[in-house]
Amino acid sequence: MRGIVILRRVLATIPLMLGVAMVVFVIMRVIPGDPVDIIIGQGGAATQQEVDLLRREFHLDRPVYEQLILFLGDLSRGDLGVSFVKRRPVVNILFETLPATIELAMASLFLSIVIGIPVGVYAAVRKSSFVDRISMAGAFLGISMPPFWLGIVAILLLSIRLGWFPTSGRVSYGVLLEPVTGFYLLDSVLARNWAALWDVLRHLFLPGLTLSIGIMAVVARIIRSNMIEVLQENYITTARAKGLHERTVVLRHALQNALIPTVTVVGLQMGVLLGGNMVVETVFGWPGMGRLVVDAIFSRDYPVIQGGVMLYTFTFVIVNLMVDILYTYLNPRIEL
């Protein structure tokens, strides 16, 4: 039964992704002027022959509906076109930067969970205490501060003033690291290069922390309010009456139930994470997909922008799908 429910949910993402591709296609056709003029504008003078060639390459010599069909056809084959600037397939360019982006996103998700959950639990258990007030005020600030500014303040204080962390990049010059998977943490562990691992961690920490602050705050707040609610339930009183250790009551009985609704919230926060990713990568010169897209905007490299926006959105759709599936396992009462 659950298998069928999950299958139906998986199948529902196909029209959604198709719709996403169509929205992106329509928006990109709004560009004032002809993309070919833009490319030629960068390359200097061109003969009529070259112009025709380019128009054919981008299917601009066909009617719009045919362009859409060709576009969707290319997309289904994983072909996102060719970059105007780099003259290479967009898919390849995007996938080269993907590991950097995933590594950063994972690091900040990890930080926000590892810090956010204990803070939320502690604040709920010691409700209205000094620590509770301080951490909730901090969480409120964390939600209100723009991530790019937090990144800049972090660079100012921790990199420039104290010199603890590097200001930008993924790894220092001179550190030799063979990119096997593209995930530098993994690469340095595989190569047993502990000096490189330390260097990579130091580079990862500030951008990861910056990106995680907002989500960490949301996690702490939601865990706290769920915990407060759960701690008033009868089964908690029962557990306490049985003489269980308070730690067991809080961590095993209360937290496990408070975590379930948190999963959905964290899933929704992934959208914020992906968007913030673009900004934080720009602040820290992180060579990921976000910075690639921002650079592409300024060189008017539309195929890269288009591909980047789509890849980000597909990631978001898939993450939400996974969260929904995870939710059915955590809470069997829920039907998708």
């Binding site: 996403v20 929205v23 409120f140 501060m145 800049i152 980000y312 959105t313």
Partner: protein, 301 residues
């Protein structure tokens, strides 16, 4: 952030006819009142920036470039918060920048709310193909991460004040639509709507005169909560160079300008960022306060 709209609506309906009492309760709520006061200060600053600002925000005095804040060692000068790399007074630029942040936030949230209200009430009231069509489109827009979507859209339509408002509201109405649609559907089966129908009121009249006044409160709370987010989005877009044109001072682009001189002049990007944080904090405090008053069950902080 959107929780249990049905419950909010229950409480809100009871308070619907008491806007004055609501304002009084809001002022007695300490953090909401605090937020409201800060927001008022920002609004006054935005309105009277010409009178308050000590310098022309765009006047470059290269001789005074990157001079530190007046109260700092070696500051001297008359520049309260220092100057940027072109010698423009940061304090004056922050005062003028309030306009962009407040106006873009206010306009895009109002646009989103109006579109959401119009489409949401119609979809919830008439159902049928219209509801199906708009709902599917809303689902589609929900699939995009917000900032990514606006960045993509701004990349295509180009920077500019109205483009910014357009890009932010293009996806912003969806949340309002979902909230309003659900509430309209609930209200529709209420006796007062039935009574209005019985005395022959037209559908438009029922929506406009009966349903909207009963559900508008939740939308206003959502609008306040979203406005903070919109201001951060606007600042992020400005930071990326996709906001208003460079000649208009905006906080986000000021932070970006300061990034280039971070090693020598920390004040250039620090103060505009603080301004963004303060404004967003004020709006969020007000929004959370409103939500708590409308529905104490949702209390978080």
């Amino acid at each position: 952030m959107i929780q249990a709209p049905a419950r909010v609506e229950e409480v809100a309906a009871a308070r619907a006819r008491r806007p004055f009492r609501f304002a009084c309760r809001l002022l007695r709520h300490p953090s909401a009142a605090f937020g409201a006061v800060i927001l008022c200060v920002f609004s006054v600053v935005a309105l009277f920036a010409d009178g308050v600002a000590p310098f022309d925000p765009n006047e470059a005095r290269l001789i005074d470039r990157l001079s530190p804040p007046a109260w700092l060692l070696g500051g001297g000068g008359n520049y309260l918060l220092g100057t940027d790399q072109l010698g423009r007074d940061i304090f004056s630029r922050i005062l003028y920048g309030t306009r962009v942040s407040l106006l873009v936030g206010l306009l895009s949230v109002s646009m989103s709310m109006l579109i959401g209200l119009a489409l949401g009430t119609c979809a919830g009231f008439y159902r049928g193909w219209f509801d199906a069509l708009v709902s599917r489109f809303a689902d589609l827009l929900m699939a995009f991460p917000y900032l990514i979507f606006t960045v993509g859209l701004m990349a295509v339509i180009g920077p500019g004040f109205w483009n910014l408002v357009f890009a932010l509201s293009f996806k912003g109405w969806v949340e309002f639509f979902r909230l309003v649609r659900g509430e309209t559907f609930v209200q529709q089966s209420r006796e007062y709507v039935e009574a209005a129908r019985a005395i022959g009121a037209s559908s438009m009249r029922i929506i406009g005169r009966h349903i909207v006044p009963n559900i508008i409160h939740t939308s206003i709370v959502l609008a306040t909560l979203r406005m903070g987010y919109f201001i951060v989005l606007e600042a992020s877009l400005s930071y990326l160079g996709l906001g208003v044109p460079p000649r208009i001072p905006a906080w986000g682009s000021m932070v970006a300008d300061g990034k280039e001189v971070l090693f020598t002049a920390w004040w250039v990007s620090t103060f505009p960022g603080l301004a963004i944080g303060a404004l967003v904090l004020a709006v969020n405090l007000l929004g959370e306060g409103m939500r708590e008053i409308l529905d104490p069950r949702l209390r978080i902080g």
